[in-house]
Each structure stands twice: as structure tokens, then as C-alpha cells.
């Protein structure tokens, strides 16, 4: 009788241990993803700041009707993305219509930054996403 009880206790203890270890792994994974997203968001934010300081966003605001120039400017912004990372950039109107989009649409774990861009005729949004390759 004692042997059965001891065996049950030992088995339960091992199962609890396994469950907790699994839970910790899942949580660690979750935190790791959150940290990655935060890191990518900070990368996206610094790329956006750099693009702003180089005048790319101002230039983009001015070429609202000229999609070819907009395309080359958005490419320039994407090129500011560090090596080993993937970038996506989407320019939308206030109503959510896509004016122009460049880059991989599905980035997986990624950080996004959206900035407001006033053009001479309307308010638009520029979203930059940075993720791992």
C-alpha cells in the first residue's frame, strides 16, 4: 500500500515538475517575442527618424500625385533598414486606402511604427514595419 502511495507521489511530483517547466518555456518564448517586437519597433522608430532628418518624408508628402517619385523615396526609406532585417512600408490615406506599399507584407515577429504625413491636400499615414529575415 505504501509503495503504491509513494509511487503516486513520485509520479505526481514529476508531472508537476514537467508541467511547470513547460509553462516556463512557453512564457519565456512569449517574453522573448515581446522583447523582439519592442526591439524591432525601436529599429523602425529610428529608421523613421533618420528618414525624417534626411528629408525623405517631406519629399514624400510633396509627391502625393507622383507615384513614381513616391516609389523611389519609399525605396530609399526601406534601404535605411539595417542588414539582416526585413522592412515593409505602407502609405495609406486617412480612410485606409493604400497609396503605395513596398516590401514583404508578412514579416512574422515585427515592430511597427506609424507616422502622420500631411500632404498639400490631405492627411496620410506612413507605416514602417521591421522584422527579422
Amino acid at each position: 500500500m505504501h509503495t503504491i502511495l509513494d509511487s503516486m507521489a513520485a509520479n505526481s511530483a514529476i508531472w508537476i515538475l514537467l508541467c511547470i517547466a513547460l509553462l516556463a518555456t512557453v512564457q519565456t518564448e512569449h517574453v522573448s517575442q515581446e522583447l523582439k517586437e519592442s526591439y524591432f519597433a525601436s529599429q523602425a522608430s529610428s529608421i523613421m527618424q533618420k528618414a525624417e532628418s534626411l528629408g525623405y518624408i517631406d519629399a514624400l508628402a510633396r509627391c502625393e500625385g507622383d507615384l513614381q517619385s513616391a516609389d523611389s523615396l519609399m525605396l530609399k526609406i526601406v534601404q535605411l533598414c539595417p542588414r539582416g532585417m526585413l522592412c515593409t512600408i505602407i502609405w495609406k490615406t486617412e480612410k485606409g486606402e493604400v497609396i503605395k506599399a513596398i516590401g514583404t507584407q508578412d514579416l512574422g515577429v515585427a515592430g511597427y511604427v506609424t507616422t502622420i504625413v500631411s500632404t498639400p491636400t490631405q492627411i496620410t499615414y506612413l507605416t514602417l514595419g521591421v522584422g527579422e529575415r
Binding site: 505504501h2 509503495t3 502511495l5 509513494d6 509511487s7 507521489a9 513520485a10 511530483a13 514529476i14 508537476i16 515538475l17 511547470i20 517547466a21 509553462l23 516556463a24 512564457q27 519565456t28 512569449h30 517574453v31 515581446e34 522583447l35 517586437e37 519592442s38 519597433a41 525601436s42 523602425a44 522608430s45 523613421m48 527618424q49 525624417e52 518624408i57 517631406d58 508628402a61 510633396r62 502625393e64 500625385g65 486617412e94 515592430g111 511604427v113 506609424t114 507616422t115 502622420i116 504625413v117 500631411s118 498639400p120 491636400t121 492627411i123 499615414y125
Partner: protein, 271 residues
Amino acid sequence: MRKAFFLATTSVIVAYLTVLLVQGINNDISMVHELAIQRSSVIKLSSCADSIKEDLPRYLRSEVEKEVFLSAELGNLPDPSNIEIKNWIAAAIEYLKRQNVKADIEIEIPVFRRTATNPEGAIECIVPLRYALKDQSCETELEDQADVVFIVPVRIYLISDMASSFRATVISRIKRLFMQNIGSDYQDVRKIIIKTIDEYESNCERIDLYFRASVDSEVVRDNETVRVKLSFEDTQITDMSALAQVVIDGKTTRVTFKAQASTITLSFKRH
């Protein structure tokens, strides 16, 4: 049986210690998780703040340029109360709301002043901005106030200064001509006017300004007096420098400032 008892007891102790260990790790993980979320939130808020600080001058520039253009046509300085800001504030609040950020944005009426340094005499627009952003997902807050400053590269003061200086020069030269010789004829008056206009135009050209002026004169004589009637037509000036371009409704243009026409009569008496 004793072996099984020891095994079970050891397992329970190991499991208990592991639980404690894992709980400790879990607490750390929770803290790291919290920090990660807060870091993301801070990045989002600072990015939003940068975005509104960068976009406000972009929006205002076109509004101010429109006002400068209109006021210049009328020969006035721009009126800050004509600058429309409400639409932008509404759009900025909506933009922040979409990112789950509650915003309170206050913008005061812009202040205009002339720049002292390069480009000299251009209009500097100063807009006091105050904002409070709150990330609703994790209660992070960011409050700041800053002056948004930008330059409209249009030398608006030059027309009034140059028009009055130009008129004063024409008048003083003609005065000098008649003071020295009351019998001066109409051709001399004409020559002086043409020479003064030419000098002004070339001086302006040297500093990238396109100056246009036209003066009609009439000399009336009787036995006692000589009257010179000078009619200054609209004086115009356009800043031709590379910077002095404004965008009105998406089109690049240059502002032409105009000074109103005026007429002056000079009388010279014979002694």
C-alpha cells in the same frame, strides 16, 4: 519498501524546490515581460510625439505659405489668425486614437517674425505646442511642450522698405537737380528717373530680387514756380533665390509683393 519511500520523498523535495525555482523564474519572466511591454509603449509614445512634432510644421508650412501669398498680394503682413489649425489637431488626435493613444493637444496662435540671419528677412513662424499622450494599453504617459519653429523663405519686408527707399531716392535726386538748377528741363528729370530705376534693378538683381517699378513724370512751369508731378505705379518685387519658393495647393510658385501706386508733386519756387 524503504527504497521506494526515499525515492518518493526525494522526488517530492526535488519537485518542491523546482516549484520554488520556477516560481522565482516566473516572477523574473513576468517582470521582464512587463518591462518589454513598457518599453514598447515608451517607443510608441515617443514615436507618436516625434511624428506630431515633425508633421505640424509640414502641415502649417502650406497653410502659412497660402496666407503669406494672399497677404503679399494685398501688400500686408500675414495674419496669424487666418492660419487654420483645428483640422490638423482633429486629424492628429484621430491618428493617435488609432494607435490606442489618448491625446490632448494644444496649439497656440502662430507668431511671425523676421529672421535676422540667413535667409535674412524671411518669415519665421513660431507655434507653441503642448501635448499629453497616454498609452491606453499600459497607462504610460508622455507630456511635453515645445515651440515648433520653421522658416517660410520669403523676404516679405523688402517691398515696403525698398519701395519707400526707391521713392525717396527718386524724389531727393529730382529735388537736388532743381535746387542746383531751377531751369532744368524735362529730359533731365526723365534721365534721373530712368537712371535710378536702372540702379535699383541692378542692385536687386545682385541679391536675387526681381524689382519692377515704373515712374511717370510731368513738369509744369509758370513764372513763379516749377512743379514736378511724379506718379509711382505699382512697385513689385519677387524673390528669385532658390529657397524662395512656396507651394500653394500643390503648385510651386513665387510670391510677388506689391506696393501701391502713389503720386507726389514737388514744387520749386524761383527766388
